[in-house]
């Protein structure tokens, strides 16, 4: 049986063409999570979105990688109506999120490179 598919319009959730805050990204995320949990296919439409930034995408999409297996996201989530530049940003956000959640502890440790301790 085909699972049903829902089109989620980012413009409608955010209430305008600006996707420039983590807070708005969180609202998009919170709207989609229950759908993904029940196995609904989600088509995220960026129609009418004019400006979007990484902080928005980290909240809206990046954090899924801490909540669902990669294969499950690939199976259920698609995007559309996004221009190529924005897709390139989303790809970087997704790759960064995969790295971040693959082993958060190791990621943290890798970040802890040598820090200077000059007197201030």
């Amino acid at each position: 049986m085909m699972s049903k598919e829902v089109i989620v319009r980012v413009f409608d959730i955010v209430g305008g063409p600006l996707c420039v805050s983590a807070e708005d990204g969180q609202r998009v995320h919170d709207k989609i999570v229950p759908l993904l949990r029940e196995g609904t296919k989600v088509v995220l439409s960026f129609e009418q979105v004019e400006t979007l930034i990484s902080a928005f995408l980290n909240a809206a999409i990046g954090q899924f990688y801490g909540e669902f297996p990669e294969e499950r996201i690939r199976e259920l989530l698609t995007v559309r109506d996004m221009d190529e530049d924005d897709m390139a940003i989303l790809k970087r956000v997704v790759d960064n999120a995969k790295k971040y959640f693959s082993n958060p502890k190791a990621f943290d440790e890798a970040l802890r490179e040598e820090m200077g301790h000059d007197e201030e």
Binding site: L18, A22, I89, V94, G116
Partner: protein, 290 residues
């Protein structure tokens, strides 16, 4: 108290002087600051943003702030960009339309920031930029704005000011906050109170590095800013507490300041004659994203 401000250029020395002002007024409470500008020979207009942030901290401690003895040539610049109107000076018409005015935004004011950019970047060299570049430029400014929202931990808001230089085909835009600075966010993240400002900035500039803890990944905003400046042959300054960072002509440099600038400032200078196409990456297919 009276503080004598000196000439302020958009460079490390300029920030040192603003840090001096911040330190000198640090203990002032429920009193009065007279900022005497008689020694100011020049003031780079975009530096009104970090000056505004410093003075907002002073005013927040119930001090009255007064700006006096400003030389005409400097006063004209700061009246044209509306910085001085908050100190009861009359506004002045900007005949050459090169000003990008001083504005203070609250953290939830992204819509107002969008209106500001739409209104004031038009006619400032943007037409000569490709459409792609104008869009990418705006995106980077929002990345910086959102960084201030997420990380500054300041309720005083976000201070923005710029200047367009038509002859040089350059546009400077500065975004400042009066927050805890990158150093303190990184110190908290690593639970290490001795981390200094310069290594903290160096760390924060690396891709994937973020002090956000918990469910949201991050650490791409400054990286994207850097990528953009490299392509555009533009310039970046980041000042945060004792740290000064500059990216120009493809080269990065870091310096430790002698004074403590209380907050974080990012200046992006764009080369408005740039006609690059701004493809950030080779084509990405929608089905390959996840």
């Amino acid at each position: 108290m009276i503080h004598y401000l000196q000439t302020i250029h958009s460079d490390q020395e300029g920030y040192e002087r603003l840090a001096e002002l911040a330190t000198a007024t640090d203990k002032l409470g429920a009193s009065r600051l007279e900022l005497d500008c008689s020694r100011v020979r020049f003031f780079d207009a975009n530096m009104a943003a970090p000056l505004g942030a410093v003075l907002a901290r002073v005013a927040d401690r119930f001090n009255a702030v007064e700006i006096v003895s400003m030389p005409d040539v400097v006063e004209r610049v700061l009246r044209k960009n509306s910085f001085l109107t908050q100190f009861r000076y009359q506004p002045m018409e900007d005949d050459y339309k090169t000003t990008i005015p001083f504005r203070r935004f609250q953290k939830a004011d992204e819509g107002a920031f969008e209106d500001y950019l739409q209104r004031h970047l038009k006619g400032k060299g943007i037409p000569s930029m490709t459409e792609g570049m104008g869009k990418v430029f705006k995106q980077k400014l929002f990345e910086v704005f959102q960084n201030a929202v997420i990380h500054s931990e300041s309720e005083l808001g976000i201070f923005v000011c710029g200047q367009f230089f038509p002859q040089k085909q350059k546009l400077d835009l500065t975004i400042a906050d009066a927050g805890i600075g990158i150093r303190d966010a990184v110190r908290r993240y690593f639970q290490d109170k001795k981390i200094a400002s310069v290594p903290a900035i160096r760390w924060a500039l690396e891709e994937g590095h973020t002090t956000k803890k918990g469910k949201q990944p991050g650490g791409l905003g400054l990286k994207f800013l850097h990528d953009f400046a490299r392509l555009n042959k533009g310039r970046i300054h980041i000042v945060s507490r004792f740290g000064f960072y500059e990216f120009r002509e493809g080269t990065e440099s870091f310096a430790k300041m002698t004074g403590d600038y209380p907050g974080t400032v990012v200046t992006l200078e764009v080369n408005t004659s740039d006609t690059s196409a701004y493809r950030l990456a080779s084509e990405v297919a929608a089905e390959d994203i996840f």
